[in-house]
Symmetry: C5
Subunit: 156 residues, 5 copies
């Protein structure tokens, strides 16, 4: 039985953890799911690390980033930390991030849900089936939260 | 008995460590609290690390950031370091930061107090009760230092 | 027999992994090649790490970066992480990155192919023959994805 | 007997190491002081690490940063590295930095001296007396190189 | 007998490795010199690490950085990585970097040579004689690639 982790935040204005939970449950009904909530994005790396310690084979983090320049610096620091946490654990973290200013507020719920759901699917695939399971989709321009960009065709 | 750490700075223009101390004392009257003071934000990561070495199960750091571009770079370096310190210790640091230019000076004391208090509450919850204790507040748009942004409603 | 790794993404709009595979196969027909696919660039460092764990002596990663400022921050975080992954494994990662906005879309396929092919050649040289094998080309202004810049001549 | 380290640079246009030396000698006449000089700021982290290896319990680094955007990126990289060096050694580095463009050139000597002296005092306090020794000055708006900003008063 | 390492790139438009080699040979005729070439600046940290593994007591890296914003981000990532490589090995890397846009192209060869030569001299001094050997030059405003900025005089 695979154990998955979800780390979300109280800062987020949308409950993305719920979507991640439902999706993992649907994709792997036999999986065990641990949920852990922290205040903000800079707390996500250690949150994920704690779930790795409890035996999770992969974790999805759900971050929400404000509009200011400083929020973006925090995003950068959190991103570096999330990668570092993965290198220490040698396990995947699907790092879902929604920036409050990337679309109109009215569109944020749909974007956040789509991104959380698609990356929860990715997490199950990577953890249970391995990176080979995604290779048929390599280079397809897949997007989370937006329409897929699609493959650029060449005469090659 | 839980042991908590507070690291603050002489650079800060407001004594946030005092608020953190009072709050932790109130939230966990049986807890032990260690306080450690450093010159500025770039000294916070090793300060927190020293308190972890003395047995603190969680630490709150209270940073104050000036107005210039270079201050913001220092903020970025400190943020990266605080996350790294957490990954090494596998313990939480509640990283409270006040930027001298985020509101008018007259409003800074209230903002700083609110942020220090709320994150001290978060620290106690995370350390004593675990990340599950915050899950009921996930996705609620909670803010420290400002009014809560609140949850974005969707028809979903 | 040398074992090589390829990590590419579903975010990429061009299947660069295919070019890398064909090139490594051609350059070292006896080599073994593992392919692993992840969602986006921030997943590349742990992807490469997983291939190191499976015995790859060198890895090529194929990243695709969007147009926004945030995409560039993600690029920075991924770059830092890819270097860190190399320092931990003490093995090379040829870090191929295509930025969606560096040329017109119609030119991206040729650029991406050229860059993937040339860096796959570099990977085989570095892994099989060592960095000494590249020394005759040092200081020649070689470019991947563009025409070579060439050496700057001096009267020296 | 406490052993202190000083790392300065040949890039600096002011001999801040001299001020640091005199100050540590005055503050702790029994202390041993090691001095180590490197070319520029990006060499400071490993320089400090070498002094930790020789038994220094704390180190002061004295960096000088030029005016260009690239100098500021180097400052950022050096700051991240200095924090990392502290986390590895679990010992303090007082990171003194003077930016060539922060004041008029005529004012740089006074600024550099003041900053080096005050942080050398901080180093002795932190190393010999611990972070508790600075707690009475927490939140006082202390500055090095400038007049103190002072505490922001509130009716609280 | 001291063993020195040189890591240069095929991306560079000037063969700085040659200058570094000649200089180290001249400064320490008995020293052994290993040369290793990589494609670009982001490959330098692991290249230096490989030379440390082969017994080099110090390494000089010779990086060339393009003109775009992304090149500068790559510079930042490489700088962070080079510092990290030094902290892991506890040995010096003299990090020589030439930015293609820092002077007119016609002036680049002289600048690159001067910088490579001076830092190769620094490397030999630091590795063979230690950081104390540079202390007489501390605070002198020494520059590599430009005229020395010189010491700022004060009445102090």
């Amino acid at each position: 039985m695979t154990k998955y982790g979800i780390v979300d935040t109280t800062f987020s204005r949308i409950d993305m953890g719920k979507y991640a939970f439902e999706t993992i449950r649907r994709e792997d009904p036999d999986g065990e799911i641990l949920r852990y909530t922290v205040p903000g994005i800079k707390d996500l790396p250690v949150g994920a690390t704690k779930l790795f310690e409890r035996g999770c084979e992969g974790v999805i983090t759900l971050g929400w980033v404000g509009k200011t320049k400083l929020d973006k610096y925090s995003y950068l620091a959190a991103s570096i930390g999330l990668i570092q946490a993965q290198l220490i654990a040698k396990r995947h973290i699907m790092d879902v991030t929604v920036h409050e200013d990337e679309v109109e507020e009215s569109q944020l719920p749909a974007l956040a849900k789509d991104r959380a759901v698609k990356h929860a699917v990715n997490l199950v695939k990577l953890v249970r089936d391995g990176g080979e399971a995604l290779s048929p989709m390599a280079g397809r321009g897949l997007r989370q939260g937006y329409n897929n960009a699609g493959k650029i065709l060449s005469e090659d």
